[in-house]
Amino acid sequence: MLIIDCPWCGKRPEIEFRYGGEAHIARPADPSALTDQEWADFLYSRTNPKGLHAERWRHIHGCGRYFNAVRDTVSDFFVVTYKAGEARPDIGGDK
């Protein structure tokens, strides 16, 4: 079973977690100032890299907290996990 390291609870089995999509996507401060294209990009456009990907996970059957993880989308290997609100660790890959 895939083990995910929750920044709060430590190493836990994958089935306690839910995927939360790409991380570090800030909601525009003033959505009404955006064009339709810019708003659509915010809503739907994702980087979808082959390789290291920063993404949100939620420890839903544990502490319930969202956190961020950098995962290799090729090997499914979790390189690092860190608390929500912290900057993406500088470990290469697409930003």
């Binding site: 079973m1 709060w8 609870c9 430590g10 836990r12 089995p13 089935i15 306690e16 059957h61 544990g62 502490c63 319930g64 907290r65």
Partner: protein, 192 residues
Amino acid sequence: MLERSMPTPVAANPLDALAASSRPVEAARLTALGPAARLAFRGREAAISPAGDAFGVALPREACRSHQAEGRFALWLGPDEWLLIVPGAEPAPIFAAIEAATAGMPRSLVDVSARSVGIEIAGAKAAFVLNQGCPLDLSLDAFPVGMCTRTVFHKAEIVLVRLAPDIFHIDVWRSFAPYVWELLEEGRRELA
């Protein structure tokens, strides 16, 4: 006009019938626990220690740890979330005490006494039976006495606490309780 009275939601334990017909297994004894006061407390930093003072047990700040004193249990569920359990007690006075002590502070306090029921599994094979459906490492190194966490048992979410090396308490949502109980029974069928 028909007179209708509201049914009391906490009157019946959904495990009553199952527990009555349960087979005794010394290595993994199953017990349906009686009613308890349960409060879900969430709060910002300022409210945490006053809430613990009012409850009578300091709220644990270390992840996945529980504190207990005089029959009161404070379980860490998240960095700002605790489950407070007092077996056999009325929730109202405890609720009022914590609410008064944290008045005006950013916090949330909810009486969830009727939401879940408790199950005790005790005996030398208790961890073995739990591991039939719970993927956590329940060795004493990884899951010491006093550790508590929300986790899963088969498809149901449970709160698991280790009170002694071979005593675990499970807190499970009321409607999932028969499911968890019967799978625990299934897990201990192979034991004498």
